[in-house]
Amino acid sequence: MRPEPVPFTLQLPDHFPAPVYDMSQNPLTVQGIALGRRLFYDPRLSRDSTVSCGFCHQQFAAFAHFDHPLSHGIDNRTGFRSVPGLFNLIWQKDFMWDGGVNHLEVQPLTPITDPNEMGEDLGRLINRLNADAKYRSLFSEAFGEGEINSQKLFRALAQFMATMNSFNSKYDSVVRKIPGAQFTLEEANGYRVFQEKCASCHKEPLFTDGSYRNNGLPYNQYLHDAGRMRVTGSTGDYLKFRVPSLRNVLKSPPYMHDGRFYDIFHVFDHYSTGIEQTPTVDPLVSKGIPLSVSEKRELYFFLNTLTDQGFITSKSLSEILIDN
């Protein structure tokens, strides 16, 4: 008889809303999370054993792909959107830049099977896991005896992803009134600019309202990306993309769904003076969001307080070398 997996209690911040992901259906355990972490860093999830989830999702970049505008995959292939950072996923109701994936558990199916990313066939992957004595034993420890199936694979990954949470930045210490935590003058000014000009879409405390909007980016004629329209088929969703969280934003350039801006100041310039008018452009940005030189500088200092050093260096999320 194997020992039962050990329940794991997730620390959740009291200044966040209730999570969207229903963990009662997939109770977190020490063994389940450890298995998910191993899977996340195992390149054998890809067709030619070269690309793991962690290959594109780098911890030091808040699990985005630092310095890469577009996603990379096997056979030197390139995707057509940038790699989103991974954190606070249990508060997210849908996934991908266009919201095409409706549940945390089925999200990994997309990069695993996408020919431009990991390019693997799900059936082949499940067979490979079942043929691996180490994985058979790890899956049994986490989910009980029996064949490994895709549900167990996805639930293990979801358990690990459920622990990728970022809510301990300087900003959080200030809003939670932790003794001694306070903004510098420039950070405080930047916070005011942010609340006045950015917060309606990048809503606190998650720094996104979870919506899809056209933020007036000039059309990228090389990628021909219709945005959310690709999923809904509705012309009203043309050029609309997810509003990303701004947490850890300074650690995860480049920016936008196609990684076109390498520097946060280019993003400020875009909102300030670069809006392109199209039928679906969001009314909140259509007139531009004027930012003075000093406001941009203050905004930069405020955004810096959203960097969660503990999260991007956490030992419990870091890469593990898999040699067996």
Partner: protein, 247 residues
């Protein structure tokens, strides 16, 4: 002590009552017989003709059957517990589904062709609903309710391919269809009797009734929308009960 004895006695009575109440269970067998315009379907080898006169072959043919209800003699509906079945022409065993059913006499049954919206939004599933069967869209979460692939000289797609992945579970083009079938004789289910019903599923209907589909114009559908919805309207007309063995 006395109290305990009384309790024990009372519990015994309750349990006996429960036992008596327990519904006797039987099985209903449904065998799907896939055909094209009456001719039996054979994958990759035979050529067929659609209602527009275009020749085609079939390499893949599979569809979900779920949410089965039984119709009692008074026409009331009995909803059965969750059951999801993937009928796949390439896997003969999948074409007979065994449905646990309470004892009784039934006029017929109904089922969804496809997977209800709840299971489309509930994360990782197992068995027939496991995405390993190639019936789940990864770029736009949701099940492919029915899938037909093949070739036709009329197709303008690469390799003269025909690709019909029919899905979508919300909005005006929801492709989930309920099909109701009435049996020529009533179906008696009990511990001894297992009625076997043969249902003909005619692929010809996919491209003919009520919406004619010409491969020259439409050879690929792999997104939810109006085209997919039309095919689902068509295939909801493809089922007929042809045989009932009530033994």
């Amino acid at each position: 002590m006395k109290l305990q004895a009384r309790l024990f006695f009372a519990l015994c009575i309750v349990f006996m009552a429960c036992k008596k109440e327990k519904q006797e269970q039987g099985t209903l067998l449904i065998t799907f017989n896939n055909v094209v315009n009456g001719a039996s379907l054979s994958l990759n080898t035979s050529s067929y003709t659609n209602s527009a006169g275009e020749a085609f072959t079939v390499s893949t043919f599979k569809y979900y059957i779920s949410n089965i209800t039984l119709t009692r003699l008074d026409n009331s509906q009995l909803q059965l517990p969750d059951g999801y079945y993937l009928v796949d022409e390439s896997k003969p065993a999948s074409k007979t589904i065994r449905i646990p059913a309470p004892k009784g006499e039934y006029r017929g049954f109904s089922f969804l062709v496809g997977v209800d919206s709840t299971r489309n939004v509930s994360g990782a599933q197992t068995d027939a609903l496991d995405p390993v069967h190639g019936m789940f869209w990864s770029w736009n979460s949701g099940y492919i309710m029915a899938r037909m692939e093949g070739t036709s000289p009329a197709s303008g797609a690469a390799g003269q391919a025909l690709t019909f992945h029919i899905g979508g579970f919300k909005g005006p083009y929801n492709a989930v269809r309920r099909v109701t079938l009435v049996s020529p004789i009533s179906l008696t289910v009990n511990a001894e009797r297992k009625p076997e019903v043969t249902v003909k599923a005619d692929l010809y209907t996919w491209f003919s009734n009520p919406f004619q589909v010409k491969f020259q114009q439409t050879s690929t559908i792999h997104v939810p929308g109006k085209d997919a919805w039309r095919i689902s309207e068509n295939y909801s007309n493809m089922f007929r009960i042809t045989d009932v063995t009530d033994l």
